[in-house]
Amino acid sequence: MSQSVDVVDLISTLLDNEKYKEALTASNEKRLTATIKDNSSDLISAIVGKIEDDTVTIKPSLYGTCEQLLSKVIEECAPEEALLEFIEQLELAKNDAQFGIILPPLQQILKKLTFKRGRSLEWCLNSICSHIEDIPVPEHHLEGEERLLMDSDPNIRRIVRVYSLLPPFYRYFIEEINQADFYNVKTKEIIAAFLISLLGKPLIYIDMDPETNGNSEARLNCSIIVQDICRLEKNILKFLVYLEGCDRDSNKKPAKDDDLEEEKLPYKYEDKVNMTTLSGLFYVVLSGHFQLPDTAIPQVYSLEYVLQTAMLSVIHLLNFSEYGMLSKALALAEVIVNRFPDKLSHELLSSSVHFRMCKGLFTIGIYSSYESIRKKSVALIGQQINKFDYKGRCILITYLIKTSNHSGMIGYAITLYKSSLNEAFQDPHMDDCFTGPQFSNMLKKICHLPHGAESDLVELADQIITSLNFLRYLAIKDTNNVTGIWNCFSFIENQYLEQLRVGLNMSKAHYEVKLKDIEEGKNLLENNVNVSVNVGGNVLDKIPEENAKQIIYSALNAFHLIEGLIGRLCECININKMQALQMNCE
């Protein structure tokens, strides 16, 4: 026993004293071979423990010695034992250098275990995954070209480096499968599942868009991984089925399948193949940002099937708030929308994915903290809606108006409706969607004040202004009453405009008083109650007087604008009425 402690201590001390040659000679000594075998675990742990992140640069010879010692140890010892120790070390690895020095000997051992490898490869891959997942992902709130700075973030550097260590490790096993006549399907799927999991966190957070960051190393890593997946699974679109399955399961209460755990197939391991990792995969496969092998995408799948299923990825990624996820979601969404042929039938909307994507887009369009993302998202909503036939567009526009709950977004929806209507005017026969009851129903949704005259006009200003513009457009354009707008004038005048006028008078009076209060310094006296507003832990500053004034001015401005629009609209309506009268007289 005393002898056995010696060998670990001996080598450890020799390494500490920078006596590398002696350490190597000691390991080669015949009399120690047996003890090395007996103490392989401790020895591995001792050697790996010597490695720090900067060892390669500061003490290259120590690094080299450790590498040699490790390969010596695995020559001598029982592979099973060393395997367990290496897996343990992978999990415990304090730094990426330790992680890196473990991989080559680990591969050697797995090679040795060809016939009785069993689940050990899977365990190794799991440990690799858990090391990678622990790397934090930075979020610096940068946009535009500044995002290139992200590539110098230490954690991003770490991710890139660790990812680049992986292909030399796993490729051997892919070759093994591709060269064998008969291979274990499960092994293939285990490796493929591992590779898919690599496309999720943390890689998915990193920019890889060829237009903005074509030279990023992460892009290169990603490209290698996908190529390798394609070498395992020749038809990359077969994963669409799993994407569908994951989406279904995510709406489901879990726990049902506990007893079935053991018979799960590798592609059903949720920690590897899940919505996020598959979304990463389909971003890479379909966005056109990456080169794929020529045969990877079979040309027999129906377009709707591929696109609608891939939309699930977009929907999933839009749930995040990080730039990396969102920019990928939008890139993929753009490709999907553009791939759909024009004038899509509204019948496709029986699948809820279109609504879910629209919802994801408008949520991001309203709330994302990145301006470029918001703008792109809003533009995509328009593109998505305009891909459909008129009926489909109207359905989606109704959806937007009813669910977005944001005046600006509703205003945008009204604009989309107006431009579709304008398009329909070019057709020889006006589509049913824009005439009769369907039109008047839409009009009521557009000219809607949720609380009548007491609605908050400042909040609704966007919607009101666009709706008034829309009405004026129609009053001028539709002189022949194709849409049936004339029959709605009484509703517009007696209800909508009337409520608006009353509302305007009240709001104007209210804001003018407020303005006066500020000017006379009244609200300083009145509001001596100390109130602070706290949002998500951040105390909001009190609005300074100058800004408060600005807000009031902009509100008053909006009111004047609305008034002006009402005036012009009434003018148009009256002209219309006169014409109608004249026609009647004639």
């Binding site: 020749k234 038809n235 077969k238 669409l240 279904r248 709406n251 489901k252 209460k253 049902k256 399948d257 079935l260 018979e263 799960k264 197939l265 059903k268 045969t295 079979p298 040309q299 027999v300 799948y301 129906s302 377009l303 709707e304 099937y305 791939r339 042929p341 509204h346 909307l349 029986s350 699948s351 809820s352 609504f355 359905i395 989606l396 109704t398 959806y399 009813k402 009769g436 009851p437 369907q438 008047s440 129903n441 009521k444």
Partner: protein, 473 residues
């Protein structure tokens, strides 16, 4: 080889898919929809350019037949193939990638030719481990591409028999939420399969004991332990995952009925929050239909009825929850009454809600209306009594309150008066002067007191020095 060669196999006979057999297959069987089909294929454009082949991947191509996952021509064509058959399908653009094509390999408006070899097919296996635990054989295809989600209400026709002797043990039509089948003696295998069913689909399911009645069997149904069972299942209707926006009137009404039923079940099971959720769904589904003149009279009437009962039920549930939400109950009763102003239930619930809100006097009017409409309605009559006693109690309470109030006010006033009197500076304090405690002496406290403004201005009243300070007496 010309484009027109082959037999037209489209339903409409528009020559969109032409089939020419190169090698006959064996047997007479062709795959059913839903089957997992394995084929080898090579696709070429009309000019002979190969755009894709499974042989280049060195791996046959697998897909689920009849599910819309491949181009239309394939779903039609492959379904006609026998095992071992090799044929050429010529597919017009509208049965393939249409006017847009599939860039970069397939140009716009391309007619495609596929040489397909049918290798084999498997009955669709719906078990999670793909261990043949649940096999589906579609008898009649359903419509649409929607399938019920977990938790969705489904109505199915079942016919279960034992595979061993063909004895029928279960024949019924049952409605239940997916995932709660066990409470309705519907086995797991059926539930799992239903998640893949479309509207109106009828299929035969072969289910291993693991997903059926396991090693215990089911004595009640007469299923022995460890039995493989066969079910013929038809999905009559289900709660759609489809969005409200893309449904037409009758569909909305159908869905609303389903939610109403679901809500009522939850209500009966005292799951009030869930019941509220369901009834609210009914409201969102049909709310818009009443004014929608593009809908038929019939569905609008149905919508109105559903909306009315949804509001009535919501009002009821809000009264039942603890603590009762009287305000919400009142709001929904009001909405119901807007649709039908003399609705007895509506009036009654509004009355109850008002009573709960402490508005007994308003409540009594509603109950009186109920009695007017239904003189036999005892509950309302009782409520009127309750209201009256409440009002009487309230009055009594008010009386006391006001009585006390005036007393209290009076008391308070006198106190205030006293306090004020006390606070006033007593120039001739009781401790000063001939009645003072110190017999004409200033106490130290009094001496140190700062003179008031009044005293400073009138130094003669007290003896102050020229600075206005008290003289030492």
């Amino acid at each position: 080889m010309t484009v027109d060669e082959g037999v037209d196999i489209t339903k409409t006979g528009d020559r969109g898919v032409l089939k020419r057999i190169i090698k006959e297959g064996t047997g007479t069987d062709t795959p059913n929809p839903g089957c997992q089909v394995t084929v080898h294929y090579t696709g070429t454009l009309l000019d002979g350019t190969k755009f894709d082949s499974s042989r280049d991947r060195n791996e046959p191509f697998e897909f689920n037949l009849g599910k819309g996952s491949v181009i239309k021509a394939w779903d039609i064509g492959v379904a006609t193939m026998k095992k071992g058959e090799v044929c050429v399908l010529t597919c017009a653009p509208m049965y393939a990638y249409g006017a847009a094509g599939s860039p970069p390999k397939i140009p716009p408006n391309s007619t495609l030719q596929f040489e397909i070899e049918m290798i084999d097919w498997k009955v669709e296996d719906l078990s999670p481990g793909k261990n043949k635990g649940i096999l589906r054989h579609i008898i009649e295809q359903g419509t649409g591409n929607d399938a019920p989600n977990d938790g969705a209400m489904v109505t199915v026709e079942l016919e279960g028999r034992l595979q061993a002797d063909g004895k029928v043990f279960d024949t019924r039509t049952v409605t239940f939420p997916l995932g709660e089948g066990s409470e309705h003696k519907v086995c797991e295998g059926i539930e799992r399969a239903l998640e893949k069913f479309s509207q109106g689909e009828k299929s035969r399911l072969t289910i291993q004991p693991k997903y059926a009645f396991k090693s215990e069997g089911n004595a009640e149904l007469g299923v022995p332990p460890n039995s493989v069972v066969e079910y013929v299942v038809k999905l009559n209707s289900f709660e759609k995952t489809k969005e409200v926006w893309s449904m037409d009137g009758p569909e909305k009404v159908e869905q609303a009925k389903m939610f109403k039923e679901k809500g009522t079940n939850y209500f009966k099971g005292s799951k009030f929050q869930l019941a509220i959720k369901m009834y609210k769904r009914v409201v969102t589904l049909v709310e818009d239909m009443l004014e929608d003149t593009s809908e038929t009279e019939e569905s609008r009437n149905q919508a109105k009825e559903l909306l009315l009962s949804a509001h009535l039920n919501l009002s009821l549930v809000y009264l039942k929850v603890t603590p009762a939400h009287h305000f919400e109950a009142k709001e929904h009763a009001l909405k119901a009454l807007k649709l039908d102003e003399n609705n007895v239930k509506g009036l009654f619930r509004k009355g109850q809600a008002l009573l709960g809100l402490g508005e007994a006097e308003l409540a009594i009017k509603d109950f009186e209306k109920v009695v007017q409409a239904e003189p036999q309605n005892k509950a309302a009559a009782n409520q009127i009594i309750v209201c009256k006693t409440t009002i009487a109690k309230q009055k009594q309470k008010e009386k006391q309150l006001y009585a006390n109030m005036f007393e209290k006010f009076a008391k308070y006033d006198t106190e205030v008066e006293k306090q004020r009197a006390k606070d006033e500076i007593d120039v001739i304090g009781e401790k000063v002067g001939e009645w003072g405690a110190g017999e004409g002496e200033w106490t130290d406290q009094q001496r140190l007191r700062k003179p008031t403004e009044f005293e400073k201005e009138n130094p003669n009243i007290l003896l102050l020095d020229k600075d206005g300070q008290f003289e030492n007496m």
